[in-house]
Structure formats: C-alpha cells, structure tokens
C-alpha cells in the first residue's frame, strides 16, 4: 500500500504541521504588517491631548461651510484659552472687493532701527524664545545689491556709515513660487493679493520655505512660547492666531487689520515713516503716487515673481 500523497498536499489550513510555504509567508507578512501599522500610527497616540479628533478631521479652509468655520474658530479660541490661558477673538475677514494690497518702503529714510521687526513679533504672537518675526532687516553695503554680503544681526548704532537698510518680508508675489510648491494646497494667493496659509492644513514639509527666493517663510520648530499677558487677542484665522508646532507661517500684511481698513502693525511702528501701504487699484492712493513719481524697484525682479512689494528712493 502506498500512502496517498495528494490529499495531504491539498490540506492548506494554517495549522501547525500542515503549513505551506505560501501560508507561512502570508502569516509573517500579516504579523509584520500589523506591527508596522502600529508603529506608523504611534505618533497619533502621542498626539492625544494636543490634537483633538475634531482638529484631525478638519477640512481644508476653502471647503469649510460658514457653520464649519464658526465651529472651528470656536474650537481654536477654546484651545488658546486652555493651552495659553488667554481670551482671544479669532476672526476671518475676507478680501475687500476692488482691493489689491501693495507695500512700499523708502530706503532713503529707513535707518535699520528694527522697530518694524519688533512690532510684527508682538502683533503676530510670535515665539518669544526665538524673537521670531516675519521681517528681516538687511544691512547692505552701499553701491551693491549683493544680499550675500548683508548682515541681519548688526547691533551697532544705526545708520552706519556707508550702509543702507532693506527690510525684507513676504513680497506677496503675483507669481508665487511657494504656493506652486505646496503638495497639499495649504497655501494660496487670495483676491486682494495676500498669500495665506491654512495652519491646520499645512503638513510641515517646508517645500514652500525652500521655494521662496526672499526667505520670507518661517517654520515653527517648537510650540510657540507667548506669555498670556502678551498675547494679542485680536486674531485672524489666516493670520496671527497662535500657530501650532510643525507648520509654516509667513507675513500676511496683517490681514486681520488691513481687511478692516487699518494699517499694518509694522507701518505704525516705523519711527522714520519709511513704510507706505495701500490699495494699488485706487488711482488716488499714496502708493500709486509713489509708483508714478519715485525711483522704484522690486527685489529679484529677474525671477519673474512679480512682487506686490516695492522699494523706493527719494528724489
């Protein structure tokens, strides 16, 4: 009698002693897969307490209904109270029809004192530990536009001999390379020219930061530290609300102020009156007079970014 071998091979149940090679590989794969999945989601478990399910499931800014938006803003206000101990009001002003915001700085007047940098820091609830700000003032050698030679950490009395000072912040480009670089459309240009970021949609890849030729974007390496008493309670969803760790942010022309007709904080703080802000679509605006009567240039014009930010000299 010869024992039949065929029936034995046909048994393929995953039972010890009768495991086929294929089944064993499947089993190992499933085990490893489960382990890998557990590892992959482990950061989510760590996030408990920092990120709510609501926040995790929040949709893109442009897909939020007015009710969704109100709910999101309410949640953010409560979270600010919980995490920073401050009562704040988060608004979401939309662009004013017929408005395109433009900035100009008079470099004949700017003396590099840096009050704009400080005003931005305070207005926009920046991290106190790093003195973060959307503005960087470059101390430049007269006679050159070589920004490689510029210095941002000068601490001597200004203006220094043979130097000029060029504050640089987001240029709100009409052809913004940063928004093209974003893989998740967390940053875009709005109708009044302001390039904004949905901090709750940003994945923190920093492609936009690398794409910006003006080094205008900032990354939140850590949870910002702002004492409750110093928090500016007048906040905007797309502007100066306290940003979470791990997202990119940038100058938004103080849209929580400017979309309500007010001047940006950096302009009001400037002791030299070097800054001018306005609506380029208004032919009677100050900004139009400057463009028509002053020697004006834009930064890195050759890149074709078409900044909404101008520098000019007197005479």
């Amino acid at each position: 009698m010869v024992e039949p071998s065929e029936p034995r091979r046909s048994i393929s149940l995953p039972v010890l002693g009768s495991v086929s090679r294929r089944t064993a590989v499947k089993g190992i794969g499933a085990t490893l897969g489960a382990a890998a999945f557990a590892t992959a989601i482990s950061p989510l478990r760590k996030l408990q307490g920092e990120i709510s399910a609501e926040e995790l499931m929040q949709r893109h800014y442009k897909e939020l209904s007015p009710e969704d938006k109100a709910q999101v803003i309410n949640r953010l206000e409560n979270e600010t109270k919980e995490r920073f101990g401050a009562d704040v009001t988060i608004d979401d002003p939309r662009p004013i029809p017929g408005t395109k915001f433009v900035y100009a700085i008079n470099l004949s007047v700017c003396n590099g004192n840096g009050k704009c940098v400080e005003a931005c820091h305070k207005e926009n609830n920046h991290d106190r530990d790093t003195n973060q700000s959307y503005i960087r003032v470059l101390e430049m050698q007269k006679g050159t536009m070589d920004m490689e030679q510029a210095n941002t950490t000068y601490d001597h009395t200004v203006p220094a001999e043979d130097k000029f000072y060029m504050p640089v912040q987001c240029q709100q480009c009409d052809e913004p390379p940063c928004t093209d670089a974003c893989p998740v459309e967390a940053t875009w240009k709005e109708d009044d020219g302001i390039v904004v970021v949905d901090y709750n949609w940003c994945i923190g890849c920093r492609y936009c930061e690398a794409a910006c030729p003006y080094h205008a974007r900032r990354f939140n390496w850590k949870k910002p530290n702002v004492p409750a008493a110093e928090i500016n309670p007048d906040q905007g969803y797309l502007s100066n609300r306290i940003r979470p760790q791990g997202v990119v942010e940038k100058c938004h022309y103080c849209l929580h102020r400017t979309r309500k007709g007010r001047l940006p904080a950096c302009l009001e703080a400037c002791p030299t009156g070097a800054r001018v802000f306005g609506n380029i679509l208004d032919p009677e605006s100050e900004i139009r007079w400057i463009l028509e009567n002053k020697r004006v240039y834009v930064l890195k014009e050759e890149l074709g970014t078409k900044p909404s930010f101008f520098y000019y000299f007197d005479s």
Binding site: S133, V158, R262, E268
Partner: protein
C-alpha cells in the same frame, strides 16, 4: 496774524474726490528747555464732492501753541511766554548761533544749515514764527515754515510718501493720524537722530553651536 494767508492746500490720499484744506502748522520750540504746553491735533475735515462715501478725517499732529519756558521761582513754577522776556529786549540780528549768546539759551544745540535764530523766529512777535518774506506764522502752523525750504519733502508729505502715520489706510472705514515735521525732526537740530536697534532675531543658525538640552525637540 493772518492765518488765512498761511494756509497750504494739501491733498491727501483720496485728494481728487476729497479736496482737503489743511492748515499745516506747528511750532519750532523756541526757547531751550521750553516745550509746547501740550501737543494738540488739528482735524482736517473732509467732504466728498463726487462720491457719497463719507470719509473719516486725517488728523495732523500740531503743537498747541507757542512754547513756554518753565521757570522755578522761590515759591512756585511759573510758565513764561517767549514775549515775557523778549518784549523788553531789543532783537540782536547779529546773533547767528547760540554760541553768540551769554545769558539765555546758552548751550542750545543748533545745527540747521546756515540759518540764524531770526530766520524762523519772529523778531516782531516772539510768540510766533516768520516766513522768509516776513509773513508771520503761528506756532501750530510750523509745517508751512518748514515747507518753504524743504519743498521735495513737503511734496512727498502731501502725497503720503513722507512721515509716519497711524490708523486706517482706508478712510471710508476709519480715521488716520499723521506726524508733523517736528514730531521727528528737532527744528534746531533736524537731522534724524541715530538709533540703537533693540530687537534682534535669535535664529538657531545665528547662535554659536550649542548642545541640545533635555527639552530639545527632535519631533
């Protein structure tokens, strides 16, 4: 004093639709150690001619009036007008700078081109100023005086391209306050003062190399 003669018509911002009639004014702080009593502000009323939109006012800072010298007497501090002393003293047109003085205003820094005291101060009325053509200007309208030599700056100012401001870029939504010449420029030493930058970024890349502490986040 005929204020009307000293008015300068300035068009600000939305000038074409809202002709502004600004009285540019202000004061040269005349006596050393003397300050205007209080800075007041002139409100520029605006009316819209071809638009029904009501515009909020642009207010230009102005000194309240002539400077006042505060003198400490045995029993009280008294405020004296310039004319208190100058009415009984003959003006000396040969005094070109404060170094020529030996009794009052000694030590007052004066670095303002080739001007002398009585280029701007009015020898016929020490509580007012005078233009180059001899017309008297009240202290609150000092910008009229400045503008006669500093035309390019005055032109830029008229068009919103010189001088600091606060408030609203959009006058349909709120008012604006603008600085006066002498808010930033000391009339006796008008060069903008040098400043010490006080706020600097502390970027990680700008710091000397440091070891990560326990709180360092590698997330």
């Amino acid at each position: 004093m005929t204020h009307e003669q000293d008015q300068i018509h300035v068009q600000l911002g939305r000038a074409a639709c809202a002709p502004l009639c600004l009285i540019l004014g202000v004061a040269l702080a005349g006596c050393d150690g003397a300050q205007p009593e209080a800075a007041s502000a002139s409100t520029v009323s605006q009316t819209s001619t071809n638009e029904s939109v009501m515009l909020h006012p642009v207010t230009i800072n102005r000194p309240a009036g002539p400077p006042v010298a505060r003198v400490q007497t045995a029993d009280a501090e008294v405020a004296l007008a310039c004319s208190t002393c100058h009415d009984v003293r003959e003006p000396d047109f040969t005094n070109a700078t404060t170094t020529d003085l030996d009794l009052f205003h000694v030590g007052l820094e004066f670095v303002h081109g080739d001007l002398s005291c009585l280029s701007c101060h009015n020898a016929e009325d020490y509580d007012a100023l005078r233009l180059a053509n001899g017309v008297s200007v009240p202290y609150p309208d000092v910008m009229t005086l400045c503008a006669q030599c500093h035309a390019p700056q005055a032109r830029s100012y008229e068009n919103g391209a010189h001088g600091g401001m606060t408030g609203h870029w959009d006058l349909t939504r709120g008012p604006r306050t603008r600085n006066n010449c002498i808010d930033c420029h000391d009339p006796h030493e008008p060069a903008f003062p040098r400043m010490q930058p006080t706020f600097k970024p502390r970027d990680r890349g700008l710091q000397p190399a440091q070891h990560h502490g326990e709180e360092a986040n590698h997330g």
